[in-house]
């Protein structure tokens, strides 16, 4: 790859990083805190591209085209792959396929915070699952809850409501699962985002992958919702 082509690749890469960092696109792949760094590095990449093009022009004027002393790295062509993946495909956030391949990452919490206001109580998947699995639902005081996540169906057709919890990037994302029972719609599509309203039920199952606890939720109503701007649960970062 000669220097003009390198300048073009650097420019495109910088532009894509700026685009991903400025929109919600980056949230499909990395944690929200990384966005300022993405914008900064995108700007540096564009500056490098411009500097390369400028020095290359000056060099051309000074001495005419010449062979470079050493070959430019050919491995750099690989940089086109993430570029094309982000521009053309922009793969979605991890979904039910990854969720079913790894075990639930539910951890015993240190304490249960006060329930938020509202009827039904809005809770995250992680919050409901830990209250139900480790606190026997006592901290829920029998109130109805509303949980948002995506749907995953295992081989037997059992339905789970899942949210992937993330530390840094999608490579370390781990699922937290709630098993659904009760009034479910007749047709279930995996990866559909749902807002589920229901009640605590003492039933508990275990994840076949890592034997982690998966509590049940007795569903009373289900509403399809659009994919949230941040598809991951990042509460573990704070």
């Amino acid at each position: 790859m000669n220097r003009q082509a390198q300048a073009a690749v650097l420019f495109l890469l910088g532009a894509v990083l700026l685009h991903a960092g400025a929109t919600d696109l980056a949230l499909r792949y990395v944690k929200a805190d990384l966005r300022p760094l993405l914008l900064l590095s995108g700007a540096v990449l564009i500056a490098t591209a411009l500097a390369t093009a400028w020095y290359e022009r000056r060099r051309g004027r000074r001495s005419g085209p010449r062979e470079h002393a050493h070959p430019e790295p050919r491995v750099a062509w690989l940089l086109l792959l993430p570029l094309l993946a982000l521009i053309l495909i922009a793969p979605p956030a991890l979904g039910s396929y990854s969720a079913l391949r790894s075990g639930t990452a539910l951890q015993k919490p240190y304490a249960y915070g006060p329930l938020p206001d509202g009827d039904p109580v809005p809770l995250s998947v992680v919050d409901y699952a830990s209250r139900a699995a480790y606190g026997h639902g006592r901290s829920l005081h029998g109130r109805p809850v509303r949980v948002t996540g995506f749907l995953a169906l295992d081989r037997s057709g059992a339905a789970y409501l899942v949210r992937m919890a993330l530390n840094c990037c999608a490579a370390d994302a781990q699922p937290v699962k709630i098993a659904l029972t009760g009034k479910l719609p007749p047709v279930l599509r995996p990866d559909a985002w749902l807002e589920v309203t229901g009640r605590y039920t003492p039933r508990l199952t275990h994840d076949p992958v890592n034997d982690g606890p998966v509590p049940y939720l007795e569903v009373t109503s289900v509403r399809p919702v659009p994919v949230p701007s941040d598809p991951y649960d990042e509460t573990w970062n704070n």
């Binding site: 890469l13 390369t52 020095y55 790295p73």
Partner: protein, 339 residues
């Protein structure tokens, strides 16, 4: 296959007798780049169809995620290392080191902390140090310690292991220990004729600005290419190998340590990003994770290729296995004491 690209320059020389390339004869890279981009845009929908299966999609997501997450760290490291390479005279390093090589080794090892780059950046710097008269033993200690103990990598490690500062300390101590041990080993057993001195200056330019931006450009393209390679293998591992498979290895102490050591070599992840991957290997013991963090920045597939390119194949073939063995031993020792 792309790893062979970095073989010694001899492999890249065009056959004798062929005239030096004229622009008209060769397919120029801007043309190839334009064609690739155009074709990719034209073939968008079949490509999307091919990649539509859930397994391929999750592979793509992890691949893009690892790349996007590591790029800011790579850019930061490359900027700083270009600044040091261009604005700090190399003679400074030669003056700053003690005369006695046995003392120069630990000093150079600790000095690795001032080069906040990933391993891709430290190879050219170590090559420049050798060229400007730094004892090879000291330059090699620097080469091994710099990618592991610099502030950027240690900060990333602290972020990846929240609430476990002993992991950061363990990484620092074990890496420094192994780097110094390798330096002293080279001083006792190493022979100068194994080292092929680099043939050319890494980044030369008419002005400091040109040298700086040239270094930034070269390092981003070079290290970025290898980063993509690492992200591809990491995504393949995550998407293709069942979690239960690693889980089996994680159960047996000795096997788990060796498994993660080999994984670190094969994955070739940039040292600025490897802590996050280590943190995601939740089934493994802290000592096994420490082995992953110590081995990865010192020796992996892309480093081997880069070392062979900079110092010669004869050097890399002797240096790499010794580094691997010492790194595993050093990390296990540190892990046994600290974790």
């Amino acid at each position: 296959m792309a790893i062979t690209e970095d073989a010694p320059p001899g492999a890249d020389v065009r056959p004798a007798g062929q005239p030096p390339g004229r622009a008209g004869r060769r397919l120029s890279s801007p043309l190839v780049l334009t064609l690739v981009l155009l074709l990719a845009v034209l073939a968008q929908s079949p490509i999307r169809g091919l990649l539509g299966t859930p397994a391929m999609q999750s592979w793509m997501t992890v691949f893009v995620a690892v790349t996007v997450q590591a790029l800011p760290f790579l850019v930061l490291g490359v900027l700083l290392s270009a600044g040091i390479a261009v604005f700090v005279p190399a003679s400074f390093f030669a003056r700053a080191l003690p005369r006695r090589p046995a003392l120069a080794v630990p000093v150079a090892g600790v000095a690795g902390a001032v080069l906040p780059g990933c391993e891709c950046a430290s190879v050219p710097v170590a090559g420049a140090l050798v060229r400007r008269g730094v004892p090879p033993a000291a330059a090699l200690a620097f080469l091994l310690s710099a990618p592991a103990i610099n502030p950027v990598v240690l900060t990333a490690t602290a972020v990846a292991f929240p609430g476990h500062p002993e992991m950061v300390l363990g990484r620092f101590l074990a890496s420094l220990l192994v780097a110094c041990a390798m330096g002293w080993l080279w001083q006792r057993l190493g022979r100068t004729d194994w080292l092929r001195p680099p043939a050319h200056g890494a980044h030369e330019g008419a002005t400091r600005g040109e040298a700086f931006w040239g270094s930034v450009r070269h390092d981003i393209m070079h290290a970025g290419g290898f980063l993509v390679l690492g992200a591809m293998s990491a995504a393949t591992l995550k998407a293709a190998v069942p979690a239960a498979w690693l889980g089996t290895a994680a159960g047996i102490p000795l096997v788990s340590v060796l498994a993660l050591a080999v994984l670190a070599v094969v994955l070739s992840i940039c040292s600025e990003a490897d802590a996050f991957v280590a943190a995601s290997l939740t089934q493994f013991s802290p000592t096994a994770k420490l082995v992953f963090l110590v081995v990865g920045p010192m020796i992996d597939l892309k480093l081997f290729a880069m070392q062979a390119g900079t110092f010669g194949r004869g050097f890399a073939l002797r240096f790499a296995p010794a580094t691997f063995a010492l790194a595993v031993a050093g990390a296990v020792l540190t892990g046994a004491v600290l974790l």
